[in-house]
Every structure is written in C-alpha cells, then in structure tokens.
Symmetry: C2
Subunit: 205 residues, 2 copies
Amino acid sequence: MAKAGYHHGNLRQALVDATLKLIAEKGPTGFTLSEAAKEAGVTPAAVYRHFAGREDLIAEVARQGYEIFAGVMEYAFNDGKPSALAAFEATGRAYLAFARRYPGHYMAMFESGIPLGQNPALAAVAARARGVLEQAAASLSEHIPPDRRPPASMFSAHIWAMSHGVVELFARGAPGTHSPFPPEQLLEAGIGIYLRGLGLLPPDA
Amino acid sequence: MAKAGYHHGNLRQALVDATLKLIAEKGPTGFTLSEAAKEAGVTPAAVYRHFAGREDLIAEVARQGYEIFAGVMEYAFNDGKPSALAAFEATGRAYLAFARRYPGHYMAMFESGIPLGQNPALAAVAARARGVLEQAAASLSEHIPPDRRPPASMFSAHIWAMSHGVVELFARGAPGTHSPFPPEQLLEAGIGIYLRGLGLLPPDA
DNA sequence: TGTACATCAGTGAACGCGCGTTCACTGATGTAC
DNA sequence: TGTACATCAGTGAACGCGCGTTCACTGATGTAC
C-alpha cells in the first residue's frame, strides 16, 4: 500500500494525517498547506489534486474528527444501558477521552474556526454527534419529576459546556491555567455535583 | 489630545486599541502587526519604539484584559456581600459579562496562545484574577458541611470551566453551536443546579 | 524672550521569507486489442 | 503475452503577496542658557 514512487497511493489520507499531526503540534494557526505537503513527501501543488485548498483540507480533518467523535459518543452511550445514569456519565467521560486521544481532530473541530455551515457533510456529522449527547440527556431527564425538569437541550448544553471548559482550561497547555486536579477527576466530580443538583444522585453520595 | 502630526502623542495605547479591534474582528490569527500599525495611522516600524515585537503587543493587550477582568470580578464579588452566595453568583455573571463586553481582551487572554509564564507582569495579574474566583468559592464553601465540602479550588474550577465553556460554545459564533437559550440564562441555570448539588440552594428552588 | 541644541518618536525604503495558488509538464499505471 | 495508448497523480518552476523586522534618516518637541 502507498508510497510506491511517483504515485503516492493514498495521498489524500496521508495529507489528512499530516495536517492532523501539524495541528496537534502547533495549533490550527501553525499549520500550513505547504508544510503538510512536505510532511507527506509531496509538492504543495499535489495537494490540489485532492482538496480545493487549505480550508478544504482542514474541513476534512474536522469532518473525520466529528465522525470519530460521534462514534465514540454512541459507543459510550450504548443505547442507555445499563442505566440512563451510567450511560450519561459514560458520555461525559468519553468527551474528555476524545479530546485527549485525538487532540488534532479536537483542535480542528473546535479551535480552527472553520465554518460548519458551508460544508454540508461537515454540518451533518456534527449534528449527529450533538444528537447523541442530547439523546443521553433526554433519556436521563425522564427520571426527573416533570415539574422540576429542565429542557433536555439545556441539560446537555450544561454538560457539554463544563466538559469543553475543562478541556480548554485544564487539559491543555492553556495560558497559565492548570488546576491541582487531573482533568478527569475534575470533570467527574463536577458532573456528579451537577446531577445531584438535579436530584438524579442521592444528596450524600 | 494625541494625533498632532509627526508625533502621535500616545501611540502605545493607540496600538493596543488597534490590536484589540483587529482581534475582536478577525480573531487572534487575523491580527497582524502591520495592520495594527496601519490602523493606528503609523508605519509598521514605529511599533518597535514601544513593543519588542508582535508577541509583546498581544501580551500587553492580554495584560490589560486581565487587569480589567480582575477589577470586574473584584467589584462583583464585593467582599462577599450581601451574602457569600449572592457574591458568588455575581462573579459567575461577571465572567460572562466580561467576555461579552471585552471580546478582544477575552480572545487575547484565552485564545491567542500567548504563554503566561514568560511575562511576569502578565502572570501576576492573571493570578490576581484567578484569586478572586477562588476566594469567592472559598467563602461560599464555608457554608457546606466540612465532610461534604469539595476543595474550594475544585469548586471554583468547576464554575470557571462551565462559564468558559458557555462562552466558547454558545456566546460566540463558534462552529455550528448555538443553543436555543441565551448564554446568560444557560449559565445562570447551570450554576444554580450545581449549587443545589452542593446543598447551597434548597432542592426545589 | 530668543536662540542652540539634544532627544527621540516616527519615516520610508529595503530585506528575506514562506505562504497559497497556477500552470504546462512528465512519467507511472492500467486497460484495450 | 506483448504492445499502443489514454488517464491522471504528482512535478517543479513561477507568481504576487503581505508578513515581521532592520536601518539610517528626519524633523518635531522641549530644555538650557
């Protein structure tokens, strides 16, 4: 497979991989099309056989990231088994695990500033990923008395926001912000307190 | 004042303001030293009379941002009056208000990737800002029974993370993510649920 | 008050650089006969 | 099985551009006498 001389074999994916590596190393800003081409052992011009340009290449990286992300979230949610609560907590953990394990994808998705709206394939898979989290929140919120139940989309937005905030502030070399706690523990505790506030966990757990 | 011909008058601050405007408009990536100089009505070379270079200029913007931020947080906290709870909630609201009102500063502080460690003045004021939030958390956590009390630094990290996450995901033109709720309402509700989980608010409030 | 002079903020030309993108091309691959 | 040929992935040279930074300079300002 691949790399057999004049013809590369699978340059498209090799460019995606190179972009991923560069973004993970230097941030979305540090990435350049020329460098990605060089990393893949190819002339910058060759990139144009596979992508419309720089932005299109980043968008494909983000698309693949959302694809993985949606899969990871679905796997963690596991159709709400063994319980709505356990499944929900698993998706929270999966968010952080994804950010840790796929930093390049994560950055391309959330920090590169690519517009979701302009790329239908990208928008579709992003919506799918969001859907998993909302579904997890919806099935869990059925356990809350209706009169005290916040909308599921608000619920999932809270968890998403806290997860994202933990990642950005504490799980990366962000500007001077490292907590004395491992991000996983921080997020787990935070979600626990939040769920207790919803009456979904006993007050003294 | 200023702008009186050959000599600018207060070029240093004019450059900071121009940087602020550019960052708010195009993100930290979109900002260039040359453009900031042009915006201030001056040759790019003139910048070097006041700053060591591009990075130093951004750092000064971030420093001023942290200065404002710390002041806003201190004002909101108001020495814990009228109550620890009210003061704490005020700091949460102040975080979001700051991000809204000073987008350029916010971006320079949290999204520009400037290293806090290398600039002592910057690191100092950032620590001061963080201190306010931790103090608010600490005085509030005195109302929690000691055996159920999480460390104040964890507590404040949770609130910081949720606030930051709400800002990044829902209060900006972030990639395809807009909730059906105004960010202020979203954050207020989230903090409320969290505080209930800590036993600091009645369960049915 | 008026003149001489030191200071130093900003000029403008120049630099080398790497960028994204284009273009006519070349040569490896794979198919038709 | 062997040859002719179409396809098309990647080359390499070139482009115009704006960047950050440097340098010797100029001229406005403000102070000393």
